[in-house]
């Protein structure tokens, strides 16, 4: 598990409109670009000199990010706030236009319905 790297992806992409648009447009390309250009640099604020050499995404984590699979991310213990915020950023406008206000958020909650009443996966990094 490299939950920290997943959270770093969510944090860095959500706060940058250009990365967010690219993640919506071609998620596989953006995830590959992030692994090359963002993940290996120290910290989450985007500096480009100092490196962190050991961070990586597992295959399952990469797949969940590429497929916008927020259920899988929840089940891996990615942080709920980061996950919710970035997927609202990706989908809310389209869903609102098509199905009304909060329709995306309610679908999101519904897809996690099987977790109601259970202990959620820990978000501790």
């Amino acid at each position: 598990m490299s939950k920290y790297a997943v959270n770093k992806f969510l944090f860095q992409v959500d706060r940058d409109p250009e990365l967010l648009a690219a993640y919506k447009d071609d998620s596989a390309a953006l995830v590959a670009r992030w692994e090359e250009e963002y993940m290996p640099y120290l910290g989450a604020q985007g500096q480009r000199i100092e490196r962190t050499t050991w961070l990586h995404l597992s295959d399952a984590e990469r797949r969940a990010l590429v497929e916008h699979d927020y259920v899988a991310l929840f089940e891996m213990g990615a942080h709920y706030f980061l996950t919710l915020t970035i997927f609202i950023g990706l989908y809310e406008e389209d869903y609102t236009e098509r199905s009304g206000a909060l329709s995306f958020q309610r679908e999101y909650a519904g897809k996690l319905g099987h977790w109601t009443g259970r202990d959620y996966p820990s978000v501790e990094c």
């Binding site: 920290y4 959270n7 770093k8 944090f11 959500d14 706060r15 409109p17 120290l42 910290g43 989450a44 927020y70 929840f74 942080h79 709920y80 706030f81 980061l82 996950t83 919710l84 915020t85 609202i88 950023g89 809310e92 909060l102 958020q105 309610r106 999101y108 909650a109 519904g110 996690l112 319905g113 099987h114 977790w115 109601t116 959620y120 820990s122 978000v123 501790e124 990094c125």
Partner: protein
């Protein structure tokens, strides 16, 4: 010495501004009018206290701080603060602010906290997020008072205990009471009752645990810190909703107020969450003084 003229503990709802100010009246949610009226009544509890400086308590929602270096407790020490991040504007249509800081009180607070065993982080380049801007919008929308921002970690577990948050509030209270100044200071903190974000119980007709909310409001309103310390644990909070640990900042505010009954308590059951608006007056209720002064004037006129 400074006067702590009011302590406010409130939930923060980032959609308030959009729901009541930016949405045309014919498209507003049915509760928009009631919500706005309750917020305006709450604002009067701060206005009546005539504050000149604000000590603000909130939590960065992964806007500036991240797991590479997440501070447990942090104070800002700056002449000015920018506020509102790009993704808050995107999601909530929140306004930006530039707020004055107060470096002298920030420094006095930091030293006082260190002296009391709270080893704070300090930032000289802190940007403020909606945990502080929401209560600015609801209680002081002019944004015209200098602030001293205090951030706590309620997001990245493991977290300090409810007792630690309460004790921190007690320490902040002592430091404000000792601040050598004739200024009137209000402390305003925002957090949550039961709340679910990114989980199966979010965005329902009510908050994830309405019974917990009623109980939590009663604990705070009656100043019952013993009941809080007995019942509020990481496990009990996340059982009520995965983002419920935001309640810890309200416990911190009770620490600033002390174990006293609140002077003003209001709430509003909304979709997704219950809102709470609570105020203590540690140095006397200015609204009573206003009534007494008014009565005296009326008596004079009658005589």
């Amino acid at each position: 010495m400074a006067t702590l003229s009011a302590v406010l503990a409130t939930t923060h709802h980032p959609f308030f501004y959009k729901a009541t100010e930016l949405t045309p009246p014919d498209k507003q949610m049915p509760q928009a009018g009631e919500w706005k009226a309750k917020v305006e009544s709450y604002r009067e509890t701060l206005t009546a206290a005539e504050p000149e400086l604000l000590v603000m308590v909130g939590s960065d929602h992964f806007h500036q701080f991240f797991h590479d270096n997440y501070p447990t407790f942090l104070i800002g020490k700056q002449p000015r603060y920018d506020a509102t991040f790009y993704n808050e504007i995107r999601e909530f249509s929140m306004p930006t602010y530039e707020l004055e800081g107060h470096e002298e009180l920030s420094g006095f607070m930091l030293q006082g906290l260190l002296d009391r065993g709270f080893d704070f982080s300090v930032s000289n380049e802190l940007k403020i997020d909606h945990s502080i801007i929401c209560p600015i919008i609801t209680t002081r929308p002019e944004g015209d008072l200098p602030i001293v921002p205090i951030y706590t970690n309620i997001f990245a577990p493991p977290l300090p205990s409810a007792k630690r948050f309460y004790d921190l509030g007690r320490a902040i209270r002592e430091i404000i009471d000792e601040y050598p100044s004739d200024r009137r200071i209000a402390a305003i903190g925002s957090g949550h009752l039961s709340l679910e974000l990114g989980g199966p119980r979010m965005f329902g007709e009510h908050g994830p645990d309405p019974e917990w909310d009623v109980q939590a409001i009663e604990w705070l309103a009656s100043g019952d810190i013993d009941a809080i310390l007995e019942n509020v644990t990481w496990e009990s909070m996340v059982a009520a909703g995965n983002a419920t640990p935001g309640f810890l900042d309200l416990v911190l505010m009770l620490g600033i107020a002390g174990p006293e009954r609140a002077a003003y308590v209001d709430d509003l059951d909304l979709f997704h969450t219950r809102e709470m608006y609570m105020t203590w007056y540690p140095n006397g209720d200015p609204r009573e003084r206003a009534v007494e002064t008014g009565a005296a004037v009326r008596e004079e006129v009658t005589a």
